[in-house]
Homo-oligomer: 167 residues x 2
DNA sequence: ACTGATAGTGTTATGTTATAACATGTTATG
DNA sequence: CATAACATGTTATAACATAACACTATCAGT
């Protein structure tokens, strides 16, 4: 029951989001990936990923733990952190440093140097690619240094929130 | 006793660091800035800045607190966090998200969108400007979003550490 | 000088995020 | 079917951060 994205034209980063596609595609992709790599997509790992992809918003580790508890899993901290580490290693989850929170990556084939746009009011987060972000961070190379991983986060206010505010 | 930088030519980001200049210049700059802005450069604020600029490496809030305690100041957490917030507001301290640590900014006149290079082995950190970093993040502008602040951190291994390792 | 506003520091308590260490269960493989 | 490797569970604690309130100092206006 795979939905296709409806024919929107605007590229409003926080709005043009067809969640049905996201969820189903993402589950399928992660299943395929794990199969191909001979990794176990266990019930716990599946559940954590589902929790994250369901809302597609950043969740703290302890929020994830609560959700796990509600669904009958153990809810002691290491459970969440271990699974999150695992999913992050494989690019299916990213940590949003500015929020101490985790977000699912629906498409791990994306650049492995994601950038995030974070609204500090509604705390919505969008993952953007280099072109959209106006930020270029491909292959950063520094004298005397080998870059392994980049963290790029842009915090501000989305138009929805700024319109809502009197300020 | 202001030292001038010696005539090095390489731009080895982790190595070409004349600390004497850094410290004295930085203290002078922050004093002038506070004077001009009619802000108090109190003993506590001075001490926190000195602690950070002394080693010019990232320190956790609790490391700073220990140092404060040794120097006769109170060492309960809010003390450090308040001063750090204050110094960050004015650009003299930055937080390194990837380390939950704070680093002094010797030159707050730099771009207000700093980027950091972090060695995950020795945990040394260098602040780089856009040109050096190969990363361009000036005026990032996103559809439907007003960027207020950017966080850019590049984690990897510096050549000193990678030479030292057998790996 | 008195009053009140503001800013800075101190203190206690607690909230939040993350990991260490070890026990138990489960799966793949020789 | 033994055993190595992987996965999960549990307890305890470490590390990071803030809330709420008390006290002091400084300074502007009266």
């Amino acid at each position: 029951m795979k939905k296709k994205r409806e024919g929107k034209t605007t590229s409003k980063i926080f709005d043009d989001h067809d969640h049905g596609m996201c969820f189903d595609d993402a589950i399928e992709q992660i299943e395929n990936y794990f199969l191909k790599k001979n990794l176990q997509f266990t019930p716990l790992r599946r559940k954590v990923f589902e929790i994250l992809i369901r809302d597609h918003k950043p969740l703290g580790a302890y929020e994830i733990l609560e959700a796990l508890g509600r669904d009958g899993f153990s809810s002691s901290p290491p459970i969440a952190y271990r699974v999150l580490d695992f999913l992050m290693e494989h690019g299916f989850v990213h940590k949003i440093q500015g929020l101490n929170a985790f977000i699912a990556c629906p498409n791990p084939n994306h650049s492995h140097s994601p950038a995030f746009v974070i609204c500090r009011k509604c705390e919505k987060v969008a993952e953007v690619d280099e072109k959209k972000s106006g930020i270029s961070f491909a292959n950063p190379s520094i004298d005397n240094f080998e870059v392994e991983k980049t963290t790029v986060e842009m915090t501000g206010v989305c138009t929805t929130c700024s319109r809502a505010a009197t300020i």
